[in-house]
Amino acid sequence: MNKSWTIFKREYLTRVKTRGFVIGTIIGPVLLLLISIGPGFLMNLQSEKEKNISVVDLSGVVYEKLDEAIDDTTETGSRIYQFKEILATESKLDSVKSTLRTKVDQNEIDAFLVIPPDAVDKNESEYYAKNVSNFEENSKFRSAISGIITEYRLKQSEIDPALIDKLTKRVHLRTFKISRGGKEQEDIGLSFVVTFVMIFFLYFMLIMYGALVMRSVYEEKLSRVVEVIISSCKPFQLMTGKVLGVGGVGMTQFLIWVGAAALLGVYSQAIIGMFFAGAADVVFPHIPVSVLVYFVLYFLLGFILYATLYAGLGALVSTEAEAQQLQFPVLFMIIFAFIFAFYIIRNPNTDLSIVISMIPFFAPITMFTRIATMSPPFSEILLSLALLVGTIILLLWLAGKIFRIGILMYGKRPTLPELLNWIRY
């Protein structure tokens, strides 16, 4: 029986069976969902409470139209914003303001607005409240007041506001994505989101599962289990068994998530509709099958590349702290690729993007980004894949050598010349 298979089975089963895996698989997407739509969702939660707002309107223009401009209601249909005019003259303004300030302080009213007499010319108005960090509320008042004043100015100039509205109407720009073969598809920006989610996923999996391989190697080394294992199987078998075993766990998690996402896709409209009433007609972007295939391909190759690298490094480690140190350069490469992906999304076809997408250590993220945002020539994809596979083979050989010797060395970390010596051995 192949010993790699025995190692693989152990790595895979002991991980998949843990409570941590089950929880991580469930919590992962929930967390992602919470982070991505949570804040927006919470902002949308209206405070249903009625608000008493006093208005000091010295211009005489704004107050009478305010009820009409801001007519938000609670679920029961009553108005949220209850405006009450406070009559004042310009000379008494300061004393009126200080009375209102006390009222706000003592919670008798929630806020007050001050519209100066020359608001129409000076474009100024004031809003006082305990909390002025609610962007949505602030912008609601801003646009209401400026709408009322604009309309007033237009009327003064004897221009029909309806005409202005018609003349300045914005032109809607619909975007269509043309993929290979000239197929076009209407896109309303969600494809960017989907691309981003996929890139983020690649990044996240490479970091998480790569580190897991490293940990699995050095834990075995530090707990000295490895001495018995290595006497019953070849170091290379141990390494490949580990890389594939941990990779299998990642793949399993990936498939569960993709399955869940596919289900979500089918019911997406219903689900999105649950949160955003107006968004029920959003079309979930259709991801071409070829992009999905490349996604899986680059994930697998990227994972094997980094896992092999991590396995080799794990074998060099003698303490946990050393592991953190050694991990950093590898982490840096993944982070670099991820950051660069943002440049590529905007400039997928510059020379720089093409070069970066060819470098094997970045290709899993950067080439995939290019594939997802535009359709690069097939020859470029092929070249990046060939380079990636070639590097993996070289790295497997190299890491295998280092692994074989490193896994039994304790104490001082080998220097670079010593490492080169191991490779020649």
Binding site: T6, R10, E227, V228, I230, S231, L408
Partner: protein
């Protein structure tokens, strides 16, 4: 037929000669003591037998075959630095270890149960390794070393951390394994156990074999005329410089080193005339003393 044949192996690390020109030939059915001071090259040799490291020169054969992975399925190895997967269940761990030695789960299950029962760990079969005490973990690793019925069993300090009851249990199992036909390489610093268990020994120092062979032959070679005597009464004969070189009073007994020319018989006669003898024996050198003699002597010669 030989279970293990080591043919002139050499190994050096960074200018340190760990093992030099070491040869061994072990027959089936023996317990072989593999002795030497710290850093003598024992672990290096054992690791070469397990193909964890490769000798610079020379070769190793198991059951008269080249030392391949497949041959090593017939070897069991308990390293000195012990370790198990702490998070695994005991049953799962043993199935995994057996599979590494070429046993399928259905083949290993009954063996696992037998050995867990034998070493009083059956109640723990569904527990995780980390829940066991150190001694229990040691017994568990011992099981994983022998459960696949290897022809060659290598035990590096198997008794450290075990109480006397468990030590005796392991000793008994070692004898049983020997009777089954296995050869056991037993590496330890406890000479007393070597005397109890081993048929033959080899002592290495600084990577070379300095002493080896059947344990009785080794002792005969190192026998010196030292008399251990217990008696009552006033003894003047021990001060007789013609017969006795020197003596030590141990309270309960005397250790007497006779003159080389003096016949033992004459000392006994002289003693019998003066005191009541309750014990008179020619002391066998203990392996302990042989070990120290050989190692320190070599070191003196070496420097």
């Amino acid at each position: 037929m030989s279970v293990l044949k080591i043919d002139h192996i050499y190994k050096s690390f960074r200018n340190v000669d760990a093992v030099q020109d070491l040869s061994l030939d072990l027959e089936p059915n023996v317990i072989f003591g593999f002795l030497g001071p710290n850093g003598a090259g024992k672990t290096t040799t054992i690791r070469m037998i397990m193909d964890i490291i490769k000798p610079d020169r020379g070769s190793i054969f198991i059951n008269d075959q080249p030392n391949t992975l497949q041959m090593r399925e017939k070897v069991g190895y308990l390293p000195e630095e012990r370790g198990l997967y702490r998070k695994m269940k005991i049953s799962e761990l043993l199935v995994f270890m057996a599979e590494l030695k070429g046993l399928s789960a259905s083949q290993s299950k009954p063996k696992i149960e037998y050995w867990l029962e034998r070493l009083e760990l059956l109640d723990w079969i569904d527990k995780k390794v980390e829940e066991l005490s150190r001694g229990m973990q040691q017994k568990l690793q011992f099981i994983s070393t022998i459960m696949h019925e290897p022809d060659l069993i290598i035990l590096d300090e198997p008794f450290t951390g075990l109480d006397p009851v468990n030590s005796d249990l392991i000793k008994q199992i070692m004898f049983e394994q020997k009777q089954r036909g296995a050869t056991i390489i037993f590496s330890t610093h406890l000479m007393e156990q070597v005397e109890q268990l081993c048929d033959s020994i080899c002592l290495i120092n600084k990577g070379r074999i300095v002493l080896g062979g059947n344990i009785r032959d080794v002792k005969k070679e190192f026998r010196k005329n030292i008399i251990r005597m217990e008696f009552e009464g006033d003894a003047t004969f021990i001060k007789n410089q013609e017969l006795i070189e020197r003596y030590t009073d141990h309270g309960t007994h005397y250790e007497i080193h006779p003159k080389e020319s003096a016949p033992i018989q004459q000392i006994l006669q002289a003693a019998a005339q003066e005191v009541m003898i309750s014990k008179f024996e020619l002391m066998e050198p203990s392996l302990h003393n042989i070990f120290i003699d050989v190692v320190t002597q070599k070191e003196r010669n070496g420097s």
